[in-house]
Amino acid sequence: MNTPNTYKLSFLALSTLLIVCFFINISLGSVSIPNSDILETLLGTTQNVSWRYIIIDYRLPKAFTAIIVGSGLGISGLMMQTLFRNPLAGPFVLGITSGASLGVALVTMGASLFGGVMAAVFISKWSIVIAATLGSFLVLLAVLIVSTKVRDTMAILIIGLMFASISAAVVNVLSYFSSAEELQQYIFWGFGSLGNLSWNELLVLFTLYTFGIMFSIVSIKALNTLLLGENYAKSLGLNIKQSRLTIIIATSLLAGTITAFTGPIAFIGLAIPHMTRQVFNTSNHKILLPAVLIIGAIVMLICDSIAQLPNSDFTLPINAITSLVGAPVVIWLLIRKRKMIF
C-alpha cells in the first residue's frame, strides 16, 4: 500500500513526458512557427501579433482543454469501472452523453420542429453548451434519484443504458425530420472538438473540473474498499449509498462539463484506466488516480497533435483519432501482458 520507489520513478517519468507532450502540442499546427519564437511568445517578448494570437488565444487554450479532457474523462472512467465492477464501464454509462446529445439535438434540429425561424437565431456556441449541460444534468438527476432508491448498484448501470436508448430514439426521430444543415451541425458537435474554447470558457470548465477532481480524491478510500465488493465494504463500516453518491457526483461534474464544452469525446474514459493498470500493475486508487490523471492528459495531447495534421490545412475529428490511436495501444498492452488487469 505504501508508495515504493518504483512508483515514484514512474511518476517522475510520466510528468516529464507530460511536459514534453505539452510543448510539442503547442509547437504543432497548421501554421508552422519556429520553436524559438514559440518560447518568446509564451514569455511575452515577441512582436509578431498573429503568432501571439495563434499561440495565446488558440493553441494554449486547446492544449489546456486537452489536458482537462484526458484526465477528467480518464478519472471518471476509472471510478465507474470500480463502482460497477465492470471493465467495460466508462464515464458515459450513466447516460451523460446521451443526455447531452439529446439537449444539443433539441437545439440544433428541434428548432424547425418547434420554434421555426425564431429558435434558429439563438443557435450559438453558448446555447449548445447550455443545452448539453441541461440535457446531461436532467438525465443524471433521474439516475441520481433512482440510485438512492435501488439497493443494487448494477441496476443503476441498466437504468443509465435505458436512458441512453430513450435519448437515442428521440434524436433519431428529430434527425428524420430535420434539414441537411441542421443535421450537419448536430453531427459536427458529435465529432468532438477541443479547439473552440475561449479563455473565459476554459475558466468555467477548469473550475467545475477542479470540483470534480476534489470529489474523486475524497472517494479514494471508498473506491479501494469497494474492490472487495459491496458486502465486504459494508462490513468495514463504509456508507455505500453516500459513497456511491459522491462517486456519481464526481463523475457527472467531470464528464458532464467536459461533454458540454467539447462534445462527446469517445474512448478515452474507457481506455485510459486500462492503459494505466497495465503500466502500474495495481488496483490501489491512491496510485491509480494520479496516474490516470497524468496518462489521460498525455494521451489526449498526443491525439490532439495528430488530429491537427501538422503543417496541413486539415484537422481531423478528434473522436476518430482517440479511437484510432487508443484502441491499438490497449490491444497491444493486453497482448504483451497476456492478461487483463482489473
Partner: protein, 264 residues
Amino acid sequence: MVNKNQHIVLRTENLSIGYTSKKSETEVASNINIELHQGELVGLIGANGIGKSTLLRTLTKVQTALNGTIFINNKDIIKYASLDLAKAMSLVLTEQISSKNLSVLELVALGRQPYTNWVGNLSEQDMTAVIKALNQTNIEGLKEKKCFELSDGQLQKVMIARALAQDTDLIILDEPTTHLDMYHKAYILKLLQKLAKETNKTILFSSHEIDLAIQLCDKLVVMTKDNVISDEPCNLISKGIFETLFPKDLIAFDKDTGSFRVRK
C-alpha cells in the same frame, strides 16, 4: 471447557428472524436465545433452507430482526453506528472479492479501513496488526502474491487474515469450508480453533461439516425445524439432537463415532 465467567461477546434475547414484505411477515425461526463467550469457537449447523444464512444476516445487521434483541458486547446491535460495528465484528463471506488484482498484503491491509484516515494511509500500528494477522494465519510467504494466483484454500486463509486485521472481538464466517477438499476443510477449521484459543476472539461459522464441527467446536448452534439449540457438542449428542437434523430415510447419526452414516 467453556468458562461461564468469561465475557459474553454475542447474546440474543428471544430473537425471531425472517423476512418482511409490505403485506406479510415470513418467520424463519423464533425464540432464539444464544450466548457466545470470549475465545469460543462456535459452529452453526442445520439442513439446507433451515435459516442459517438468515440468522447470520440478522446477526451481522444485513437484515433486521422481526423480534427480540441482539447484543454485541452488551450493547444492542441497532445502537451501533456502522463504523463502530466494523470495529466489533468482522466477516468472511462466501462471495468472491471484486478485484483479484489486489496483492495479499493490500487485501489484508484493507481490513484496517475502519481505523485509517480519510485517504486510507496505514499507520505503524496498522502495519503491525496486518503483519500479525499474516503470521497468525501462516501466510507471510504469500504477501507479495496477487489474489488470482492463489488456490481456494490459500485465498480463504487470506480472507481470515483480513478479518483478523480488522481487530474485532467477534469474527463471523459464512460457510468457510465450501469449495475446499477434505484436508483443507479440516485445516481451516483447525486454524479457526487455534485462533480462538490464541487471540481470545469469538469465532462463529456456519458449516455443513457436522463431523468436523463436533470434534473442533467449543459450542454448536443447531437449527432444526422446531427450535434452535446451543450447547457443547457432547451434550448435544447425548440429547440426541443430531438425529432430528435431517429426514431419516437416507442417513442416520452414529452416536459412537459422532458422525453420519448412509443407511445400507
